[in-house]
């Protein structure tokens, strides 16, 4: 498990945010699937992804 820097710990008090190994599986939640499909459709719009990659690489 990656270690958090002291700076990150200021905003991420790990001891208060617990892993729930029995958490319900939300990967099949229709809303999240629908939003991911909408995101995919948008990013697949001609030119969008290429433009995003270009601007990210220029940073």
């Amino acid at each position: 498990m990656p270690e958090f820097t002291s700076e990150e710990k200021k905003i991420l008090p790990l001891e208060e945010d617990v892993i729930d190994p029995n958490m319900r599986d939300y990967s099949n939640e229709p809303y999240f699937i629908k939003k991911a499909e909408e995101a995919k459709k948008f990013l697949e719009t001609p030119g969008v992804l290429e433009q995003l990659k270009k601007i990210m690489n220029n940073e």
């Binding site: 905003i11 208060e16 892993i19 999240f32 995919k40 990013l43 969008v48 995003l52």
Partner: protein
């Protein structure tokens, strides 16, 4: 960054985060979920967020519960981005509100914490007919992409 936020529970794979909003409307269960989206061999993650409707056993994304804690909720979502990308440092996260007003709310939240996160994150906003731009506080965006800076 000392913004007040809710504590959350997280899934073992760090893709899902559950927290409880508390306010005049009572206790509302909220879910943040990072859903993988593969495009041209690059893995993106859609940031999904919504209220859990116990009666319907599903996310209700169009309800406006207005628990008078939007800043705290947004700070909580922001913390999940920090944590998620810590475990998945190469992740490119895409976020868009289910309505324009929600996207605007996301932007207001980003504006508040931008000074704290711009050192470690690259953030881009999408403007209709213009494409993605490096995030600027005074611009209005329809969607966002965020990733950790290469270190």
């Amino acid at each position: 960054m000392n913004l007040e936020r809710y504590n959350y529970e997280k899934s073992s794979d760090f893709f899902s985060y559950v927290f409880y909003s508390e306010g005049p409307k009572g206790v509302i269960k909220k879910i943040v979920r990072y859903t993988p989206v593969i495009l041209n061999t690059t893995l993106y993650f859609n940031l999904g967020f919504g209220d859990w409707d116990e009666a319907e056993n599903r996310i209700n994304d169009l309800v406006n519960t207005n628990n008078r804690d939007s800043e705290k909720v947004l700070a909580t979502i922001a913390h999940t981005v920090v944590e998620f990308t810590k475990y998945y440092p190469k992740a490119i996260v895409y976020a868009e509100g289910s309505t324009l007003s929600r996207t605007r709310l996301y932007q207001m939240g980003i504006n508040k914490i931008w000074n704290e996160i711009e050192e470690k994150f690259d953030l881009y906003g999408f403007v209709e007919a213009e494409g993605f731009h490096p995030f600027e506080r005074n611009s209005n965006y329809q969607a966002f992409v965020i990733s950790r800076k290469n270190q």
